[in-house]
Symmetry: C2
Subunit: 268 residues, 2 copies
């Protein structure tokens, strides 16, 4: 008889800030019985403008914090950290590590299109992570990428459906739209908040690929032979809890964040 | 006979990032013989969205770093740190500390106007530092403030003279313009980079007050009986040196940054 091992240990979800709550939202919908421990490194965010070395150091601090709190799986719900630090995180962690880049790429490839665009932070785009993952999984589609530095602040301002965001999106997307892009990967966990403006600017013929549900698939795959016996509780750890972050968190969760704690991360 | 004490110790200038280079630029123009050590905490920027406690901790780390490097004066070229942490910095430092808030307020008061507006980050505006400093120095002018969270990313994008910035500025400034504001204090060291758009939106009758030259006056006042024997050299320390920050630094200095070093700050 096979013994199925139930676990009460939470799933750890890590982001530079509160944008990764869009991934947490998708995970909770998919695994309502699981417990989650979310860590947002709000005291040092954003990662998207910072160097690979700094992002790696921060990501390792975050992973250590989550491991010290007993997570059984680490979801790196931050595209910049997934792009710059996934091998380092996998090497340093004793639990499985799931990033957001490969799930997003798989979701785009499943559409069967030939011209794929990637939108992301400066760090994510410069790392070439989406481009190289696409090439490794399927060399047929062509790929072009665009860094969109103003998208995160626009999402945090709550301007996901706003003429200014339309104008900024037209600017960043222009080369991709001229190229007749067929699918746009939203390569940053904040970008789903801009969907109304992005849909308007991209038009009805362009698929917008949000990796959050694809990440849930990847998490399901990594569970293997265990099943959930968690309480369904969500704990949120932030390294800084200004009114600003709490407001953005409420906007994403569409509810006040529950168990919230301000923490200091172990330094490397 | 009075002995005038010449000093070769540099003036320390501190900001959360590279925006404070606008203040360094004004100081160099005013004191060409002085040496400067500029510290930008680029690994943890921005400060404007973070809590008072986090900003105070970061500012104290930065001050300690500059003191360990022998500065003889500390210019806090960051409005958020000046707003949240000036008393803490003054108490912890053995050298004089000059912030940017009071000089900016004095420059606005010198205009003799009755309705003064303050533009700043969420942290600066929420702290009430400009409002309370204005009230303490001269109770006559009325003051209103507006937080402008998108201005820093727009400045860093290089969009200081851009239709998107015009549109965002119209949004943030609308209540102040309806109130017929007479002077606008640019309460963030990035904002002078937006001057073309801000001038267009504010119109010719509104004074834009950039505190950089007022800070130079405050520094001159604090020199007392010493005079410069510095080499005129500028050293720049950054806690992270991504391409992004180097590009913004070049934009502000209109030249490649000279002696540049990536440093780790002492932790509190």
């Amino acid at each position: 008889m096979n013994v199925r091992i139930a676990s009460q240990r939470p799933i750890g979800v890590f982001d530079s800030g509160v944008g990764g709550l869009t991934v947490l939202r998708a995970l909770r919908r998919r695994f309502p019985g699981e417990s989650f421990l979310y860590l947002g490194d709000t005291a040092r965010l954003p990662y998207g403008t910072k160097s690979a070395a700094t992002v790696q150091r921060y990501a390792l601090n975050a992973a250590r914090h989550l491991e010290e709190h007993g997570v059984r799986l680490l979801v790196v719900a931050c595209n910049t950290a997934s792009s710059y630090a996934l091998p380092e995180l996998a090497a340093a962690s004793s639990v499985p590590v799931v990033g957001v880049v490969e799930p997003g790429v798989r979701a785009a490839l499943a559409l069967g299109v030939r011209r794929i665009g990637v939108l992301g932070t400066e760090g994510t785009i410069r790392s070439g992570s989406y481009q190289s993952t696409l090439a490794a999984l399927d060399g047929r589609p062509e790929v072009r990428a665009a860094a969109c530095p103003l998208f995160v602040p626009l999402a945090e301002e709550g301007w996901g459906d706003h003429p200014v965001t339309d104008q900024v999106a037209r600017h960043y997307l222009a080369p991709l739209l001229r190229w007749r892009v067929q699918a746009l990967i939203l390569g940053c966990t904040h970008y789903p908040l801009l969907r109304p403006s992005l849909e308007r600017v991209a038009g009805p013929d362009v698929h917008l690929v949000d990796s959050a549900s694809a990440v849930a698939d990847a998490v399901a795959a990594s569970f293997g032979d265990t099943e959930s016996a968690g309480s369904g509780e969500v704990h949120i750890h932030l390294t800084d809890a200004s009114d600003h972050f709490l407001r953005v968190a409420r906007m994403i969760l569409e509810a006040p964040p529950g168990h919230l704690e301000v923490v200091t991360l172990p330094q490397a």
